[in-house]
Amino acid sequence: MRMLRHIRPNWLKSYAFFYVLFLYLPVIFLPIFSFNTAATPRFPLSGVTLKWYGDLARTPALIDAAWNSLLVGVSASILATLFGICAARAITRYRFPARRSINGLLMAPLVLPEIIVAVSMLLVMLQLGLSLSLITVVFGHVLICIPYSLSVLTSGFEGFDRSLEEASADLGESAFGTFRRVTLPMVSPAIISSLLVSFTISLDEFIMAFFLTGTDATLPVYIWGQLRFAAKLPGVLALGTLLLAASIILLTIAEIVRRRAARRTQNMGGVLA
């Protein structure tokens, strides 16, 4: 026992260190090489430059792809959040048969092999006679985003004390007024958080976009296309770095908003012994 107690902290520390290193080393390489003057990603770095970032702004195909990604991301996040609100409200508010299994089905796209889902979606779209475009990509992304949106919204709605809505009605407020003055302010952090998370997922998603798009590329699809040319690699690295930064910033904001909302509902729940 005594030996174990001596050894364990060190062992645990190094385990944790390698764990984090394994997770984030590749991610760190990306920004490092994006500032490298040489076109090939190899140590030692030959010099520091912002050239590749400057080039990005002068690539019309890239600007188009970014615009496409923005369109798809905004549409998919709004749609996924709308569906998520309905589902989360039903799951947290009502008791109905097979509630848990339905919740499980809605969360399933999280673990289903994405390439299979993408191929199936492609088949369905073609069967329906839809021509591939950004709209079909939005459909795919809504499917992928719903589980994320649902889990964020469910945790946001769960702490909501039903008697708050009753109190509002009791004080003379109408159903719509109650929604506007109580329900919406209480759940809006979860909604904002869901929008941000869904947008980030859509922004980075490749497989669905690759299968379901027509001639319009989203950013990940554009990056995939560029990887065939060795000379374009530094540009891809710079673009990747920007996407990475955007994702981290959006997810951080989403998490801060979600936690603030959770603290609010938890504090009030504490009164109920």
Binding site: S163, L164, S168, A169, L171, M186, V271, L272
Partner: protein
């Protein structure tokens, strides 16, 4: 305090109200009149239908059959937001995203008062619940007791005809609870609004109410003043719920009109009022006497009414001692609570003892 005159005008009329959930009847053909300006309590164990009744008065629940009217107006189909009632919720339901002032004037906003009048009413409500100066405090920074006061102010500021209170003190600790009992009672007398309180705590109901309805299994067992409920319970269930009670098996000797004569091995022949709910079932009946209505007879003291027995158990509670005394001929031992002023806490277990009782304190109880 309860002797204060209450207008003999009815405020809430509940007639033959039933609320069923499938085959379960949460409330069964209940009728009740609550008077204007009265502090009325619905008392009973959990699941007795008291909260269901309160929620139907508020408009959060609809009777399966029967009707409720408030101040002469039938409430059928009237939603909660159009009723002249306001409620203090068990969880207080303080809006967490608003501060104290915004919580209190939540309902006023719809009345579109001018700013000065609105401010005056909020200040007045905050003063009524002793929260003056805390208007800008956020809802999350309040203690349990303060949240309770905000919930009260938020309801009172609407000047309802009826204030409904759903177990408002159950989340508070004992000291604060007792303090709030006094304050709620004082507040009710100051504003003169009809209060309807739901509680499972008999002491809370006894201390605050003008009248109490004791409920069991979706029915009202008795409606009366606290004193009458405590001293003249109609049946064993009510007697048992309202504090300690000794039940003694008795035999009916004579029964005429409103009174009856009962015989027991220890108390002899006793003439008592016949409870309204009494249904004769052979010759057996039950007599009840509260533990504090039995008195220890010290030394050579005698009384016209006494029973002798032996102390079998003793529990010390600080200001009182609880003695358990076996009486020959009684099926169960008698419980006696005696103040410790005369040394009841020193009576040894096993001692022979004589008890005096007041025959008027013996009540016949329906089953």
């Amino acid at each position: 305090m309860p002797d204060r005159t209450i207008a003999n005008r009815s405020m809430i009329e509940i007639s033959r109200v039933t609320r069923s959930y499938g085959s379960f009847k949460a409330l069964d053909e209940t009728s009740l009149t609550i008077r204007e300006g009265e502090f009325f309590s619905l008392l009973g164990p959990s699941g007795c239908g008291k909260t269901t009744l309160l929620r139907m008065i508020a408009g959060f629940d609809t009777p399966t059959s029967g009707s409720i009217s408030i101040d002469g107006q039938p409430m059928d189909g009237v939603p909660a937001n159009r009723r002249p009632t306001n409620m203090v919720f068990q969880s207080y339901a303080i809006f967490p995203h608003l501060n104290v002032e915004q919580n209190v004037c939540y309902g006023l906003k719809r009345l579109r008062l001018d700013a000065a009048e609105e401010k005056r009413r909020v200040e007045e409500a905050l003063a009524q619940v002793s929260l003056t100066g805390l208007g800008k405090r956020g809802a999350l920074e309040l203690s349990g007791g303060q949240r309770q006061r905000v919930a009260l102010a938020r309801a009172l500021v609407m000047r309802p005809k009826v204030l409904l209170l759903d177990e408002p003190l159950s989340a508070l600790d004992k000291k604060l609870r007792e303090q709030m009992q006094v304050e709620l009672r004082r507040l009710q007398q100051a504003v003169g609004i009809t209060f309807v309180l739901v509680t499972h705590d008999q002491y809370e109901a006894l201390a605050m109410s003008d009248r109490i309805a004791v409920m069991f299994g979706g029915r009202i067992a008795q409606v009366a003043s606290p004193k009458e409920i405590y001293q003249r319970p109609v049946n064993c269930q009510v007697a048992d719920f309202l504090g300690g009670m000794n039940f003694v098996k008795a035999e009916i000797v004579e029964e005429n009109g409103a009174s009856m004569t009962l015989d027991t091995p220890g108390f002899g022949r006793v003439r008592t009022d016949k409870p309204a709910a009494f249904v004769r079932n052979g010759r057996a009946a039950t007599l009840g006497i509260r533990p504090e209505r039995l008195r220890v007879l010290w030394d050579d003291a005698t009384d016209a009414h006494e029973v002798a027995g032996k102390v079998v158990d003793r529990h010390y509670f600080g200001e009182i001692t609880h003695l358990v005394i076996e009486i020959p001929g009684f099926e169960k031992p008698l419980s006696v609570t005696e103040t410790n002023n005369f040394g009841a806490d020193d009576i040894p277990v096993g001692a022979s003892i004589r008890l005096a009782y007041d025959p008027d304190a013996l009540v016949a109880l329906a089953d």
